[in-house]
């Protein structure tokens, strides 16, 4: 059962008012411009026992993604491709009110949105994750752990997932007569990535739109919308988060803002990952 969060009712009215005054002058209270992201930093290989990993900081929001590969049977309806499983956890380390326990609806929603962005964008070439067609494939576990929650974990999670995947090498395969043997201890091919995908979150406060809301801003947003893009500007996922509504015209504006922001993040991502 999904229940109205108990903190939703504490509307920091004064904060909102002063934020609106700032935005009237084209600037946010944190000093950023409306369509400006916080700085992104990526540390690849942060978790050395993962097959690939990345620590991502988006401002103070800190996310660690790790990739693990396991040999498994393919699903019946996709015998010729690997499996992808995405899991986001909002760790109790990350924020005072986060509790230990199985993922709640917020973590599950984040997991599923990141999963769909990775899947629908065809960022990963899953068909290259087959060891033996119909019998043995790689399952790609992407575990994303939020360490410090400072707003907009979704965009940070997508970046961390992509960075960790680009950091991943598959275990080595060895042809032995008719059969293929997996050498777990040795690294083989790189994860077959087609291109990255990014998610851009746009928040609405009164009549204003801003990108990459931080934790203070999240508390006073009317609502927000997240859109994922490929490098060729295809939209590969949309999710409206939280209570509140958009007009159709606002959705149009959001899309345009998000598309432009996606190009900048992709550029940053390519630079830091040394790709394309």
């Amino acid at each position: 059962m999904s229940v109205t969060p108990s903190n939703e009712n504490i509307i920091p009215l004064i904060k909102k008012e002063s934020m609106l005054v700032s935005l009237e002058h084209g600037i946010r209270q944190n000093g950023r411009k409306p369509f400006e992201y916080r700085p992104i930093s990526i540390t690849l290989g942060y978790a050395k026992k993962a097959d690939g990993s990345a620590l991502v900081k988006l401002g103070d929001t800190t996310v660690l993604a790790g990739v693990k590969l396991e040999e498994e049977q393919p699903f019946e309806d996709t015998p010729n491709q690997g499996n992808l499983v995405v899991n986001v956890e909002l760790l109790p380390l990350a924020y005072e009110t986060f509790e230990p326990g199985p993922p709640d609806e917020n973590a599950i929603e984040l997991s599923r949105v990141v999963d769909r962005s990775l899947r629908d964008s065809k960022s990963i070439d899953l068909t290259k994750l087959v060891i033996e067609p119909g019998k043995r494939v790689w399952t790609v576990w992407v575990d994303i752990y939020v360490l410090d929650y400072s707003g907009n974990v979704l965009d940070a999670s997508t970046i961390a997932a992509i960075a960790a995947l680009y950091d991943t090498k598959l275990p080595k395969l060895l042809q032995e007569g008719d059969s293929i043997k997996v050498i777990k201890e040795e690294k083989g091919e790189r994860m077959p990535m087609n291109y990255p995908v990014v998610t851009v979150t746009v928040g609405k406060i009164g009549k204003y739109l801003i990108v990459d809301p931080d934790i203070e801003e999240e508390g006073i947003l009317d609502t927000r919308l997240s859109i994922s893009y490929t490098p060729d500007k295809r939209m590969v996922g949309i999710q409206k988060f939280g209570i509140g509504t958009f007009s159709m015209q606002e959705i149009d504006q959001v899309e345009s803002i998000a598309r432009q922001a996606s190009a900048k993040i992709l550029e940053e991502l390519k630079k830091q990952l040394g790709i394309g």
Binding site: S2, V3, T4, V236, Q239, S247, I251
Partner: protein
């Protein structure tokens, strides 16, 4: 026909697998006041999708320390009956059901005048009887009708439809093959009289141009559905608050 092979979604005559034109809605049926115990209830059928919804409340919340001082708490469950799908579904909630319960709650909350019922709860339960594409939106509409049936004031009733892309064509109100094999699925829910979108999601693949085309098509479909909803309610209630 094997489930592993994509069928043709747009036939040579330009029609869809169920004979509809790209911008044609599935047949719909709605009824309110279908349960005795619930304060509000409804059954909705969209094509072969069938949903029943019940609303209890506004009522006192237990335990009381969970009550919100300035507004009602909304509690929502979207659930699929085990026999509602092609393969039997385990009755315990899947991650998909948990996500959908959340997006439906948020969409529904955005339509209810929650400030009128401080310290109380409104419980909304939806059961999918038949799942044949579009269950989240049919559930949301069923919930919205049940809320009105319970006499709870809303900004507007919610009308909703999924648009998408099938064999390259932008289509209205996806059916199951289009949902499974199409290139994009874009559910949209609105309060039409105030032009506000309560729910929008997308999975799949659309260019920005296609996206614009798709939400335009959705808007038109939503208006038709909205009129049906109003008719359904008028048959029971003469008036309900409409803001434009």
């Amino acid at each position: 026909m094997s489930q592993n092979q994509k069928p043709k979604l747009i036939l040579e005559n330009g029609l869809r697998t169920d004979g509809r034109k790209p911008d044609e809605l599935r047949p719909m049926k709605m009824e309110i006041g279908v349960l005795k115990n619930a304060d509000g209830s409804s059954i909705i059928e969209v094509g072969n999708t069938k949903i029943i919804a019940a609303v209890y409340g506004p009522k006192e919340i237990h335990p009381r320390h969970l009550a919100l001082p300035g507004r009602a708490t909304i509690r929502v469950r979207y659930h699929m009956m085990p026999f509602s799908t092609d393969e039997r579904k385990s009755p315990s909630p899947s991650r998909r059901e948990i996500e959908i319960s959340k997006v439906i709650r948020e969409a529904l909350e955005s339509s209810i005048l929650v400030e009128q019922f401080p310290r109380s709860s409104i419980d909304v339960f939806m059961e999918v009887i038949q799942a044949d594409a579009g269950t989240r939106l049919a559930s949301l509409m069923a919930a919205s009708l049940a809320v009105v049936d319970a006499g709870i004031p809303v900004k507007d009733i919610i009308a909703a439809v999924a648009v998408g892309k099938a064999d390259g064509v932008i289509v209205l109100d996806l059916n199951e093959p289009e949902d499974m094999w199409g290139e994009a699925d874009l559910p949209v829910a609105m309060m039409p009289s105030i032009n506000q979108v309560n729910l929008i999601q997308m999975n799949g693949n659309l260019t920005p141009e296609e996206f614009k085309q798709a939400i335009d098509l959705a808007s038109r479909g939503i208006q038709t559905i909205y009129n049906m909803e109003k008719e359904t309610l008028k048959s029971k209630y003469i008036e309900f608050k409409e803001e434009s």
